[in-house]
Amino acid sequence: MGLEGDTWQEKSLAAGNLLQTKARKVQLQLGSHSAMEIESLILGAGQEVGKSCVVVSIGGKKIMFDCGMHMGYLDHRRYPDFSLISKSGDFDKALTCIIITHFHLDHVGALPYFTEVCGYRGPIYMTYPTKALAPMMLEDYRKVMVERRGEQEQFSSDHIVECMKKVTAVDLKQTVQVDNDLQIRAYYAGHVLGAAMFYAKVGDSAMVYTGDYNMTPDRHLGAAQIDRLRLDLLITESTYATTVRDSKYAREREFLKAVHKCVAGGGKVLIPTFALGRAQELCILLDDYWERMTRPVVINIDGGLTIQANMYYKMLISWTSQKVKDTYATRNAFDFKHVCSFDRSLINAPGPCVLFATPGMISGGFSLEVFKQWAPSEMNLVTLPGYCVAGTIGHKLMSGKPTKIDLDKDTQIDVRCQIHQLSFSPHTDAKGIMDLVKFLSPKHVILVHGEKPKMASLKGRIQSELGIPCYYPANNDAVHIPSTQYVKADATDTFIRSCLNPNFEFLKSSGESNSDLGFKDSNAVQLVQIRDERVAQGILILENRKKAKVVHQDELLPMLGVENHEVKSAYCCPVHISNLEQIKPNELSRSNLSLDPSSRKNALPLSKCSWLHLLFEKLSNELPGGDIQELKNHLQLESFHVSVCSNDNCPYKTLEVSDIKSDTGLYPDPCLHAYSEVLRFESRGGNFPINWLYVPIGRGVFKPSSAEFGPAWFGMKCKNLGSSSPRL
């Protein structure tokens, strides 16, 4: 798995911070601010591969991600349509910055044109390796265009130099403050040396643009790595939107075996590649393999480009895989032992030979020269990269097994050599894309850099499997999604502390759940689940021209400079004792305060305490979870009090005490006086079910602060206990 954990979340979990385990996505809109949205204008790589360029407007900033060119076109379609950014051509005003993800031409190819010809002068960001290697790619391309195709150049060498001067290099994970509001950060993307995914954040809105990435490590590069971020938008490549690949090592072995077999048989191996990236990976692969062979054959590299590139790779070793990094002090992995520069005059020298030559798809240049010479012999081998653009010889060789290739109307090449197609690619496969999307769980996904039908299928998967809205716009289309915005407020200590107070619940799990957890044999072991669900409550104060403030309830009144006005409900009702036998003698003996002796002559001298105690026992039986406290002069259930009304002329006696005849064996009694501070009358019907006390606020669990009782509760309670006339 390329994503190394849930970076901050896992660590804080380890630190025992329970709070963060509950972190979840925030869904919020600030009603009136519907204008806050993220716009993604796709200028390239929309439903195609080539000229990657997306302009994202986020929180008032406009960022251009990649500025690539299309290798398949020579007309205006080669570059993104920059006029869509600004009609007037004032790109400095229109764009906040440009971010380039890696040095491939379909990601950086149009940059010198945009800066030097179109006149963009704003900031440009790319990683150190990209800044070092992009000029080589651009210069090489420019030369091919001008010298080989005889085309009029779109930009000059000087343009490239001037353009690169404007670039700010960034390191991985370095948090760059582009301006006061915009923050960007690069994450390792694998794909090629220096490739990065970029995170951009303005205010509370955040997004990631992946560029090209690889979720599995290869010989010289590590796998993509990113933190778990709270994102509104993820723009990801989807080159292999539907492909799932197996282990890479098997395919590497195939390649080595093919090369070995050819060389052992005295044949020549042509490896057409780009100068950067794949060439180094294969060099490492072969150099390593050769090291273990008894009679190695020299690996030849044509042209200075790759040799020079190796020089850069050596200095940029900290951007390679861990394995390569670990050995740099003793031997830099790019100090190849068996690699040397190719003497072109030896093209037809006898004997085995391994040769790297550019360009990769045999679309021209030296690789085509060599191909012409070597293709007719069946002893020889040509390896092809994983992807070839239509129209190139590489593409023709890949599609079927041609025996003859028409180069132009005069030249025809006999193809008798063996063809080996490299099936490993530095792009992530569908599983990798899904893993990344799942890991980041953004609110929206946009797919770019892929083929339309495959993108459609991947979009379907992302929406159905992950439930995330997904889009794959075509070139020059724009996608609008809402962005996140929070209200900023000052919060007091007391409020914060009250929110952080643990709110533990101990739930006894049943036998069934034990067996689910694999404790089938031991039902005796009772598991106790502990849940700590904290519900934060506070009061928001908004004042004109002041920052919003959140306080705890207890702080509000002093802050407002006012005094509490208590509103209580009270209810008195007579309670009768129906069965004297229920009163145990020891309870009677415990009573030391005698009731008004004048009230009834034959009444037992029951004290207030005994009354309350009786009530307490009764209620405790009825409400086992209620946690009723028996205090000296009253019973208490949270804010609800029960006490004996001491007032003979109790003004709250709204029910008349009916004279109950002594022959019924009932004794009139003192008035039970009940009141509560929390004023809530939930039950409007006649019946108060017992379990009403357990009415959930959270998850079906009794919450003291929210279960509130009206005066009727007590009365109802008593009614439920027996007759319509409250009695004990």
Binding site: W8, R230, Y328, K488, A489, L500, A570, G710
Partner: protein, 530 residues
């Protein structure tokens, strides 16, 4: 007790490494970042951002470095508190400088360095212009001069047939000296080998060439043009520079020739290959020993007396400048030469603080006199001493919390003030408090006020009650229910109820729940509440 290699390895494994400006979050609340201080490769100033305040730990910093990335002071801007822990000046002022037999050209040097504090500080009003002026200015020139002087002394010695011994101190100085001396040797057409004898030489030099992201701009430029970052790469390839792990390395013995130039640990002159070489050369007055400031030369050289060797002691920048003084002095003792450069630097501190605009600055007690607090109006100064806790006033009484909610207009009872109850969950995430409102909509019955304040207006209450069809008779200050100023409303319609009103409490008694809740509503509407 001596640490084993395993102990060291275990310890190093526990270190979490960061890039410059990489954010790391501790416990959800503190965000820690490191920024280049310019002193050496990877040396850092740290910022800690918490909900209460933002702190900068400012260590020895150098504005413009010739090898490491420059002092990134921009990123330290706007933090509330600076813990100033650049002690470099404390070592500098109490240095070895005993005698100032300053020659005329040294005077000139002093004049050019002494900075007139009053003139260019006004631009932008934040001292930034001044700090910029420090860049590309005399400071790095001065350093280059020192290096050039050491080089010329080394070349002189070598020409006389003496060897040069340079104990390894600051890595950056060694890297630069290797480059400069090899250039000087080349231009003087001298074929003298340079040796670095150290167990870690190979690792360190390999390392310095693969960390372009940590180096100064000139060195990064070399990356872009595809050249090695330090000249030592080519020197090793051309066999002009040789690395050996120890003096007894067989290859070294085979290659040894004098005169030569040797870099080797340890600067204390008490351990490492330097001891052997010093024994060999201390009696030779053609040989040269280069010491860095910070070593007590008298004490360090004591075991090697009588010293005939020339000794050159030089202080290099190791922190922010405090003072206006520059001493260049030359001492002669025991027939050997000690040249002391000692620089007291106070002049950079104030403009730096003015630009960083902290509210508090914590300075070591020793600098109380050197950095006068009177000139800066923006910050309060505190002075700390070892082993004593210093209390710094609170800056914020409040946490900043982000509230994520769909805002509903709350109860507006007072002018300009709006109150609303919040219920949800509080998260602490990446140094921020995030309050997420519960998803369940607040139902109307739950939105009843739980807290009331103010006093009850009786007439208004009666009016509200009548509106709800509730009628009652008022009984003023019933003495039998207790305190005065109480008042009772006996409700008789639609059912019996009693409302007892006191100054700061109201008690509603009703057998009929519906009635009770109607009365409650009426009372609530008269009082302020939430």
């Amino acid at each position: 007790m001596c640490l084993s290699v395993a102990d060291v390895k275990d310890c190093v494994q526990k270190i979490k490494t960061l890039k410059y400006a990489e954010e790391v979050c501790y416990n959800g609340t503190l965000i820690i970042k490191a920024f280049s201080s310019g002193l050496e490769i990877g040396t850092s100033n740290w910022t800690i951002n918490g909900p209460r305040r933002n702190i900068t730990c400012l260590s020895s910093s150098i504005f413009e470095s010739a090898h490491a990335m420059n002092f990134d002071y921009h990123s330290l801007q706007g933090n509330d508190l600076i813990l100033f822990s650049d002690f470099s000046s404390l070592h500098g002022t109490t240095g070895v400088c005993k005698d100032s037999d300053a020659s005329s050209n040294l005077h000139a040097c002093q004049a050019s360095t002494a900075y007139d504090c009053s003139s260019p500080r006004d631009d932008n009003g934040n001292g930034e212009g001044f700090i910029k002026s420090l860049f590309n200015s005399e400071e790095s020139l001065e350093e280059m001069e020192k290096l050039a002087f050491i080089c010329s002394c080394a070349i002189d010695s070598v020409k006389e047939g003496g060897s040069v011994l340079i104990p390894i101190g600051h890595l950056g100085i060694v890297l630069q000296l290797v480059e400069q001396i090899s250039l000087s040797l080349e231009s003087a057409n001298l074929k003298v080998p340079i040796f670095i004898i150290s167990t870690i030489a190979e690792d360190i030099l390999a390392f310095t060439n693969v960390v372009p992201e940590w180096l100064c701009e000139q060195r990064q430029q070399k990356l872009y043009s595809g050249e090695p970052l330090f000249a030592h790469v080519e020197l090793i390839k051309d066999k002009k520079l040789h690395l050996f792990p120890a003096v007894y390395s067989p290859n070294l013995l085979g290659m040894w020739q004098e005169p030569c130039i040797v870099f080797s640990p340890h600067w204390s002159l008490r351990l490492g290959p330097v001891v052997h070489l010093l024994r060999r050369w201390c009696g030779d007055q053609k040989c040269l020993l280069v010491l860095e400031q910070g070593v007590d030369a008298d004490l360090a050289l004591l075991p090697f007396k009588p010293m005939k060797m020339k000794v050159l002691q030089c202080s290099f920048r190791c922190g922010i400048k405090y003072g206006f003084l520059l001493h260049l002095s030359r001492h002669y003792f025991h027939c050997s030469t000690v040249l002391t450069f000692s620089v007291c630097r106070l002049q950079q501190v104030q403009p730096l603080l003015e630009m960083l605009k902290p509210k508090f600055v914590l300075l070591p007690e020793e600098l109380r006199l050197q950095i006068p607090s009177s000139n800066t109006h923006l910050s309060s100064f505190f002075y700390y001493t070892e082993n004593e806790t210093l209390r710094v006033p609170r800056l914020r009484d409040f946490f900043e919390a982000d509230l994520a909610f769909q805002f509903q207009p709350g109860r507006l009872k007072e002018e300009n003030k709006c109150l609303a109850r919040l219920k949800g969950e509080l998260f602490i995430e990446h140094g921020k408090h995030l309050f997420v409102l519960g998803k369940e909509p607040v139902d109307s019955s739950q939105s009843r006020p739980l807290l009331h304040w103010g006093s009850l207006d009786l007439n208004l209450l009666l009016k509200r009650l009548r509106e709800k069809g509730i009628n009652g008779s008022v009984e003023q200050s019933g003495s039998d229910i207790g305190p005065l100023n109480a008042c009772l409303i006996h409700v008789y319609e639609p059912n019996k109820a009693l409302i007892e009103i006191r100054a700061m409490s109201t008690i509603i008694s009703a057998a009929d729940e519906t009635l009770a809740s109607l009365i409650f509503e009426a009372v609530s509407s008269v009082l302020d509440g939430i």
